[in-house]
Amino acid sequence: MMEKILSRHFFNAEARKLSFYLNDGGYEAARNALTQMTPQQVADQVIRSNLRGLGGAGFPAGRKWSFIPKDSPNPRYLVVNCDESEPGTFKDRHILEWTPHSLLEGIIIAAYAIGASQCFIYTRGEYLHYARMLQAALDEACQAGFFGKNIWGTGFDLDVLIHLGAGAYICGEESALLESLEGKKGWPRLRPPFPAVSGLFGCPTIINNTETLSYIPAIIRYGGSWFAGLGTPQNGGLRLYSVSGHVKNPGVYELPLGTPLREIIYTHAGGIRQGRKLKAVIPGGSSTPVLRADEIDVRMDFDSLAAIGSLLGSAGIIVMDESTCLVKALAVLAKFYHHESCGQCTPCREGTGWMARILNRILDGQGVRDDLENLLRVAGNIRGTTICALGDAAAMPVFSFITKFRDEFESHVLQGRCLASK
């Protein structure tokens, strides 16, 4: 049985060519889906695969598709979230670079399943280079007749447009992404209505993550149950773990859901560089609660991480060794959320800047006794009161860093001394 799906041909420049992909059985799944399956059968396979959204929230992909109202007279849209701005995550970039046709084939299948004839791929503006690679692949596929009018003579039309963002983390949030796609600033929308009911231009819209869609061809080809069997129960299949920070071999590792974090760090990513000791790991991108070194025996899947108070998020693993000053690390993250808060709703707009300023002051040795309580309180006041999840994302690291490494923070505040071993 195959151990890798998407990463089989990573770092092989030939693999991004259509001819290579076709030789590998590419676009067969899409052709099968369109010619031999009903949209419902396609969706059923995806539901059976237990494939959960891989952009952060972990919502079951098949069920999301079912939210499209059956009777809407408006056109339906498929939007691919390829904004990938969560610090620590870079898997989508690898898909664009090495296996763009997996994504494109997944798009055909998903668009067929939801009845969309227009798809937008929203990529972050910094990925211009990678968007061009995707565009080249798309052009090849169009030439081959996989996109456009009347695909494979089924009467199904599909047009794909690659849309570049312009540098805003918030546009990875699905409703902000839609606003951005409509040419507006990326201010998240109030919900309900959810995008599946009223999304892009007020029409039913399904937004899937790049990685999610890229796995769909394999699911259709080998069946949903096969994919589900690759992972732990309720957490289907494989996923791409991005590993960065103080590891010997940072990169993307395609492993079954539920692979222990320790194994990912020490076996696949080669362990900590320079023989240092591990101090902390952020398991799922910058906004997920940090884990202490003694917590890394957790299985990397949605439920196991949630059980110990963290999140799988986008599976961007950031590894920090003993030389890391966690106050500094948190200040960097706080600066990030301050920079990226869209400014629409009060708690996030004012709170992210406040937290960043307190942390900077602490780093400057100007901390005062109440600072840590204040940080926790401000984070607590942001959490759960904002329009979108960015507020929560900004608050979670503050909670987890301060509660799990309180001594380091207190040492900084009270003694102006950093406990990190240099």
């Binding site: 990938e84 969560e86 610090p87 989508d92 990925y127 963002g165 409509e182 590993v243 910058s286």
Partner: protein
């Protein structure tokens, strides 16, 4: 001042972009990207002209341009150095690369050298944490930067 100052090439690119979107406003970001590629930044006049093209109020274009960090409302140097200073890159010493670049170019982050060749900015995650510390110069990524590599690169770019 308005559309007259747009080159024919740009105008035809814009009309091509407009044709691909179901609503003109949705084409705003691609059009702005096109304008920025043409002149290096988006001037207030360009904003007004684009607003006219897309058929939306000029303030809406202003809002959009000011919201996105990749859209510049003042010219950047020939080489726009964007150092990622997010967590993974900082962990591996991004700040040293930034400091080295600042020293070599004699500017602070956010500034442009007097000869308009380099603009140095620190940016948030570039989505290249495996290449940490990473640097984007215009559209190209540079991996595993260090003070020495920054100096080498700057020498080459000069």
């Amino acid at each position: 001042m308005s559309l007259q100052s747009f080159s024919d090439r740009l105008l035809s690119e814009i009309s091509e972009i407009l044709a691909r979107y179901p609503q003109p406003r949705a084409a705003l970001l691609p059009i702005l990207h096109a304008c920025q590629r043409e002149s290096g930044y988006i001037s207030r006049d360009t904003e007004t002209a684009v607003a006219e093209l897309v058929g939306i109020p000029a303030i809406d274009v202003r809002e959009t341009v000011s919201f996105y960090s990749l859209l510049l409302d003042k010219p950047a140097g020939k080489y726009h150095l964007q150092f990622c200073t997010n967590l993974s890159c900082t962990l591996l010493g991004a700040e040293e690369s930034v400091a080295a670049a600042c020293r070599k170019l004699g500017v602070h982050p956010g500034e442009t050298t007097r000869d308009n060749r380099f603009t140095l900015t620190t940016v948030e995650c570039l989505g290249a944490c495996d290449l940490s510390p990473s640097l984007q110069v215009n559209d190209d990524y540079y991996a595993n930067m260090s003070a020495e590599k920054v100096n080498e690169l700057l020498d080459k770019l000069k």
